[in-house]
């Protein structure tokens, strides 16, 4: 049943492509229906199963003489990410309600991207995973290049090429492990049990990890992210930061760590405290956390702040993965979900609600616009989203970050210290952006604002309100009741850590 999320999305994409151009409302309706169907399916399947073990959805031969099978399966980690995709998909459609230019093509590419993402999360054959991963690249390019804003063609091409290079690296790892395991199968389970030689894992692990890490925004391969996020239209930024970056992190976890666990073993020598690939990537993750936060602190473009904050938050995820203990990796997966929702929310507010009305993203310009009074919905939604992003208890980010902190303490205490710095700077840049954009000190008090002299902003539309409400509710719900997700993530992580993909 869960596999239908993929098929429905692609069917929706095809349907959108042939819809008449003169009826954008129809295109929107179809897109919303398809996205909603996907979300409902995900929720229903989530509720219907305890997700204590892996559930196989489909397993048919595809290219028999190469041992490639069309295998779709899901465990706790997959279902959480599928839920995230469903949420982000519906929210993205809602926030794209106002797109008038070539609406049906927009939603065709959008749904194709969603289908590809669902496919990656549900694939249990490495080759199939790779195929879906590649399928997701092209719609991204067109979404940004056609409907984006600042430097969109450059941003789109950069994103496409970076993704392609990343996937090429993964392909090499795939080919290598396929060849070395005897060429019988590309199933994740089979490859996981293949006992690949250690020296192979030693170079395959970093290669595949970096390949996926590029998409996850790992420092220093993150440079596509701020440009891409700023260039992309709102729905695409939401998907990029919310879901696509998680594709990379998921690949790091499922493929790199699941198939090549020996690649993280100590090298036997150490250099300034770095003695294995695990140390290397942990250091890069920590750098990403701190660097992303510090750079976000000095940005003058609102969207860049959020873009760099995404790099910082993904650093948390990658650090959590590298702790290699139950609590850290669980925290990383929860952070994937949490950040997906919150980043989507932040981009929606900044891009869709603020930028569409004020036509500027420059913080200094926004400062003079009395937005706290004139756009109360956006201001307060950003306050709540901002504190959620900071990691306030009660929202999903707190438990996730706490788990990552605890996990990293158990692994290597100094990682925790550096991470703490990132959290503190995180509070700072969020607060700065909030102050400058909505509640600037330079302005008079709301009751002393000039009452006339500016054009009225459009009211908040129902799709915007629904989208914001939905995402906030999700973050709050998981924040107050994290066990609903932790209960399914923990068994999956336990299995993965115990013996790779089995």
């Amino acid at each position: 049943m869960l596999a239908w999320t993929i098929y429905l999305s692609f069917a929706g994409a095809l349907l959108e492509a042939i819809l008449p151009k003169s009826k954008p409302a129809l295109a929107r309706g179809v897109a919303l229906a398809v996205a909603l169907a996907g979300l409902l399916l995900a929720v229903a399947c989530f509720a219907a199963n305890t997700w204590q073990t892996r559930v196989v959805l489909t397993d048919v031969p595809w290219v028999p003489w190469m041992g490639i099978r069309y295998t779709l399966a899901a465990d706790g980690i997959s279902i959480v990410l599928v839920l995230l995709t469903g949420l982000a998909a519906v929210a993205g459609v809602l926030f794209s309600w106002n797109i008038d230019l070539r609406t049906n093509e927009f939603f065709a590419f959008y749904l194709a991207l969603i289908g590809g993402v669902y496919g990656v999360f549900l694939s249990y054959d490495l080759f199939l995973l790779f195929v879906f991963y590649e399928i997701a690249i092209v719609p991204k390019y067109f979404l940004i290049a056609i409907w984006g804003s600042t430097r969109r063609e450059y941003g789109a091409m950069k994103l496409a090429l970076y993704s392609f290079v990343g996937s090429a690296m993964v392909l090499i790892g795939l080919l290598g492990s396929y060849a070395l395991s005897g060429g019988h199968s590309t199933g994740l389970v089979d490859l996981g049990q293949a006992n690949l030689p250690v020296h192979f894992q030693m170079w395959a692990f970093p290669l595949v990890f970096v390949g996926f890490g590029i998409l996850a925004g790992m420092w220093p391969f993150h440079t596509w992210a701020p440009t891409g996020h700023v260039a992309a239209p709102t729905a695409a930024s939401m998907l990029l930061a919310g879901v696509v970056m998680k594709l990379g992190a998921y690949g790091c976890l499922r493929v790199a760590m699941g198939l090549f666990p020996r690649g993280m073993d100590p090298w036997g020598f150490s250099f300034i405290g770095i003695g294995s690939w695990r140390d290397v990537f942990a250091v890069l993750a920590v750098i990403g956390i701190v660097y992303g936060a510090l750079v976000a602190l000095v940005q003058s473009d609102f969207k860049f702040v959020i873009g760099y904050s995404s790099v910082s938050h993904m650093g948390f995820v990658l650090l959590g993965l590298m702790t290699l203990n139950q609590i850290g990796v669980t925290g990383a997966v929860l952070q994937m979900f949490s950040h997906g929702v919150i980043a989507g929310l932040l981009f929606a507010i900044v891009g869709r609600i603020v930028y569409e009305r004020t036509h500027t993203r420059d913080l200094t310009e926004l400062e003079g616009m009395y937005l706290g009074k004139r756009m109360p919905f956006a201001a307060w939604a950003f306050v709540i989203a901002g504190v959620a992003s900071m990691g306030l208890p009660g929202f999903s980010g707190f438990v996730a970050e706490l788990q990552v902190l605890v996990g990293s303490w158990y692994a290597k205490p100094w990682w925790t210290a550096a991470t703490g710095v990132g959290i503190v700077v995180g509070v700072a840049y969020t607060w700065r952006a909030l102050q400058k954009a909505f509640f600037s000190d330079r302005l008079p008090r709301p009751d002393e604002h000039p009452k006339t002299g500016w054009p009225k902003f459009d009211a908040i539309t129902w799709p915007e309100a629904t989208g914001v409400g939905m995402l906030l509710a999700a973050s709050l719900f998981v924040g107050l009741y994290p066990r609903i997700l932790l209960n399914v993530i923990e068994p999956a992580v336990r299995t993965l850590l115990a013996g790779g993909v089995r």
Binding site: A17, W62, V63, P64, W65, M66, E105, F130, V131, E134, I135, I137, V138, Y141, F142, A145, I146, E153, M157, A160, L161, F164, V165, A168, L171, I172, L175, G176, Y178, A179, L180, G183
Partner: protein
């Protein structure tokens, strides 16, 4: 051997020749006064029928092929990779003939079709030939036909220029090839491929090593020209740009299939002779086993030559394509790049049919995609007068179906799943890595993947103009419905074969079953 056997084995070629003559006769005789469109339609129809019949007759070729009189050596192979190549070749000829409909570059449609068919016959011959002289004959037949096809657009200066370059270059390369063949004959005393290989492996050949290397280089030059590998590629951009669309499609697809089938034959013959397990030269029971020291020098030399050509083709082809503003030239350089990938597969050729299968799969699907690409480009060309990138501006608005076809085909060329181009690349690289998983093999595969990333960039440039950038001219772009239907069919095929690779691969497998 008797002439009856010869006739039976070369039945498809014969059918093609007869069809060619028939087209000429009917066009010149019966349809003298008819309109161009009618004549074109009839000629194409006859050509298709001819190809269709040839396809049918492929079934009836004798097993084991045609042998020399009084010997068991095979002159013309049948079954296995030869049959696959020939079938593919005929299908591609059918498709490229469709592009002739609604074209305005010539009034001599009958001649065009006839020459195409004759060139196809030459290609068929090459695909199955196992004798150096037969190879040469087939090569000449194919090449001369291609030169003429390139020159067919008499109104266009570019056509003449391209054909001239092609002809001069081709003539020179043919000379090199013949020269190399003659050396091989001199060293080994036979013109049969397998005998030649056997001879090259023997201790005698070791003494003639310098001559051997010279011969190999000559042959590499000659065949490299045919497949447009660097540094023998200089004719390609001009020829692809100047030739009329059906001709360009034919060059890009059929001649490649034939040439690579030939290279596969050479590779298979080389392997076929050497049994790694027993460490000595054995072929099949018909040949005598030879014991004694075995000279392998030529095999690694050949492999190295191909490797260098592959490397340079991949890099030069992709990098040069980045700078192009004319889509035809872009396709030419991309053809050079693809030739590089395939040469990689040939440089690391496996014992057993795996490499051969992967290469044929690649070149057949590439041919299919290329015909579609040239067809789509031709439609745009006809409407706007040239094939510059800017002619594609706003294509998604002007003719969404054509733009969608272009999207599918170009992405397949870039190697994006789930299109067939991706499978072809994956298959090929897997085969290369199966032979040589480390060192050079791995390094070249990595380079190939990197170059694929580069290729994505320039394919996206065209697609960007079609989809992203605003149109200069927003009038609808009319395309002939038959042409459009064929293009859609090709695109659908690319998608279907990509989603269900078992279809084509399974079909190919069936040919190898008997081998």
């Amino acid at each position: 051997m008797n002439y009856g056997d010869l006739f039976r084995v070369t039945l498809p070629e014969t059918v093609l020749e007869i069809a060619a003559l028939l087209v000429l006769v009917i066009d010149l005789g019966l349809l003298r006064k008819a309109a161009l469109k009618t004549r074109a339609a009839v000629a194409v129809l006859l050509g298709e029928v001819g190809c269709g019949v040839a396809l049918l007759t492929l079934q009836f070729q004798a097993q084991g092929g045609l042998t020399y009189p009084g010997s068991r050596d095979v002159v013309l192979a049948a079954g296995g990779s030869a049959a696959v190549a020939q079938t593919g070749l005929l299908v591609l000829t059918v498709l490229s003939l469709f592009l002739l409909i609604d074209s305005t570059f010539t009034r001599h449609v009958g001649e065009f079709v006839a020459v195409t068919l004759m060139a196809a016959a030459g290609g068929m011959l090459i695909a199955s030939a196992q004798d150096l002289l037969v190879i040469f004959v087939g090569l000449e037949l194919l090449s001369l036909g291609l030169y003429i096809l390139t020159a067919f657009a008499k109104q266009s200066g570019k056509s003449a220029e391209g054909a001239m370059k092609y002809y001069l270059f081709g003539g020179m390369s043919a000379a090199f090839l013949l020269f190399g063949f003659s050396y091989l004959y001199g060293i080994t005393g036979s013109t049969n491929l397998h005998r030649v290989m056997l001879g090259l492996y023997s201790a005698n050949a070791a003494q003639a090593a310098p001559l051997e290397y010279l011969a190999l280089v000559m042959i590499a030059a000659g065949l490299g020209f045919k497949v447009a590998a660097v540094p023998f590629h200089l004719w390609a951009p001009d020829a692809y740009e100047g030739a009329p669309a059906p001709g360009a499609a034919f060059i890009a697809s059929v001649s490649k299939v034939a040439s690579f089938a030939l290279l596969i034959s050479i590779g298979t013959a080389a392997w076929h002779v050497f049994d790694g397990m027993q460490g000595r030269v054995t072929i099949s029971a018909e040949f005598h086993a030879q014991s004694g020291p075995v000279y392998l020098g030529f095999r690694s030399a050949w492999g190295e030559l191909l490797m260098v050509m592959a490397l340079v083709s991949m890099v030069v082809g992709n990098l040069a394509a980045l700078a192009q503003t004319n889509v035809r030239r872009l396709l030419a350089y991309s053809a050079i790049a693809h030739a590089g990938y395939i040469l990689l597969g040939l440089a690391f050729f496996s014992y057993g049919p795996r490499s051969g299968q992967a290469i044929l799969y690649y070149v057949l699907t590439y041919g299919l995609t290329t015909i579609g690409a040239f067809g789509a480009v031709a439609v745009v060309e006809r409407a706007s007068g040239n094939a510059d990138m800017d002619a594609f501006l706003g294509l998604s608005r002007r003719n969404p179906l054509l733009a969608a076809v272009l999207l599918v085909l170009f992405l397949s060329l870039a190697g994006i799943p789930p299109l067939v181009g991706f499978w072809a690349k994956f298959n090929l690289f897997a085969a290369v890595l199966a032979v040589y998983p480390a060192g050079f093999g791995l390094g070249l595969v990595i380079l190939a993947l990197a170059m694929s990333a580069v290729s994505l960039y320039y394919y996206l440039q065209v697609l960007k103009r079609a989809y992203v950038m605003p149109a200069v001219d927003t009038t609808a772009l009319k395309a002939n419905p038959v042409t459009l239907m064929v293009l859609v069919l090709i695109a659908a095929g690319v998608v279907a074969l990509g989603c269900f690779p078992a279809l084509l691969q399974g079909w190919m497998q069936s040919f190898y079953a008997g081998m």
